[in-house]
Symmetry: D2
Subunit: 144 residues, 4 copies
Amino acid sequence: MTEYSRRVNFYETDLMEIVHHSNYLRFLEEARLDWCVKRGVSQWHGRDKKFLLAVVHTEVRHLSPLRFTDQFTVQTQARLKGAKMIFEYLLFVGGNVTTGAKLAAWGKTEHVLVNNLMKPIKIFPELREIMEKESWNETWHLNL
Amino acid sequence: MTEYSRRVNFYETDLMEIVHHSNYLRFLEEARLDWCVKRGVSQWHGRDKKFLLAVVHTEVRHLSPLRFTDQFTVQTQARLKGAKMIFEYLLFVGGNVTTGAKLAAWGKTEHVLVNNLMKPIKIFPELREIMEKESWNETWHLNL
Amino acid sequence: MTEYSRRVNFYETDLMEIVHHSNYLRFLEEARLDWCVKRGVSQWHGRDKKFLLAVVHTEVRHLSPLRFTDQFTVQTQARLKGAKMIFEYLLFVGGNVTTGAKLAAWGKTEHVLVNNLMKPIKIFPELREIMEKESWNETWHLNL
Amino acid sequence: MTEYSRRVNFYETDLMEIVHHSNYLRFLEEARLDWCVKRGVSQWHGRDKKFLLAVVHTEVRHLSPLRFTDQFTVQTQARLKGAKMIFEYLLFVGGNVTTGAKLAAWGKTEHVLVNNLMKPIKIFPELREIMEKESWNETWHLNL
């Protein structure tokens, strides 16, 4: 599990004075690529590298809105499921996750590895090795 | 069921040369608000009006990528489920839906009606009356 | 001169209840690529084609805000200046440009033609021929 | 002068494999609001507070493209000009500004202070006091 944190930007809000829901997928992407950096996976990720991550499924549940200047933290966990990489996310707002933060959203994204031409690629050994060390908490979606 | 159609813009692509997945939620929003216009619901929608639609859940399945200049069409259906409005979408790419178009994505979004202060509002009678005339096709997600 | 028109989307607004200023560059891009379609230039535009348009300078003056559901129209004119393509835009809101529309913004963008590797390309003969037929109104920026 | 720094996100790229030019206005906004935080001005900025910043003019010159994962730094300076606040920006990419960074873009934005109803507000004394302490480097645009 990794943690990624930043502040909500002005341009991410809409006329309801909250973060537009489409931006949550961008926050999850930031957290996912941060996971890739922290796990050493990003060395193989990119157009001129070993793989890109094609998104095949996304799901987000919104519990509480985010507002301009809110500090948020995304916890990310990852696992393999056949040829797919599954990421699951808990997005907290306000303060420290271990103390007073509030769960604002839950998300899940499913991906296949592809090359520059969008052709699917198998999970390669170095990635499988990394994934085998990851723990997965089955109960994250039960927070909802 | 309504149909909404437009072309993919340049700025909606990413370095994989396809539409970034977060933009699908924007396409679905365009289709949803087009549904509201066509059903006469948009007269009550807005900050200074009867209600706004808060997003509580989104789900998108991606079958085939969209690319710059692609013409896409979104079919939208809507129903009530308790205090929630549920919208379901089929996104087609390339040509006419009834002839040669290809299913590119399926989506579902769930909403509650709120006022300017983000407080939930009941489904009001005029909206309920409109919703009762809507038909719902249970099999849309079976296309996947 | 070409005209491009559409409605403001919900997700293009910010917490000031107006269109976020960064989106104007997206509206101008839509109008510019519409110009390319109408002039037959888009047949050569794209990653696997003759050229892409790299942006080297942008400028936008805002006179009046755009809001959700506003219908806007962008008038676009283009000319060559050495190796650069210059586009200038007038963005009107509300109703017909020739009758009651209001000037909401003026913009100018400068571009160089590049290939997939971002290397500059000369203005090619077919494009020069098209550009020589374009008229340019020197007084557009005087509207401000 | 303040400095604001972060990494380019995946979703900020386009099919040319570089950051889409509209996102530069978002980077400048992040840098501007960071300036407001560092100068103590953000305490008065917001919908329910003393003022909002309406954008009346933007200008960006692009010297070199930004790419996914690039670290960039924005230097920001501010001054008053009548009732307007003027911000000027230098955007560097790659490494430390004082050592090996490369100038990638220059920008300028002009603003008026407005209230929630978009009505212009005078520069208030606390802001004027802060602005009088700011130094302004006239030569920034000469870097171009």
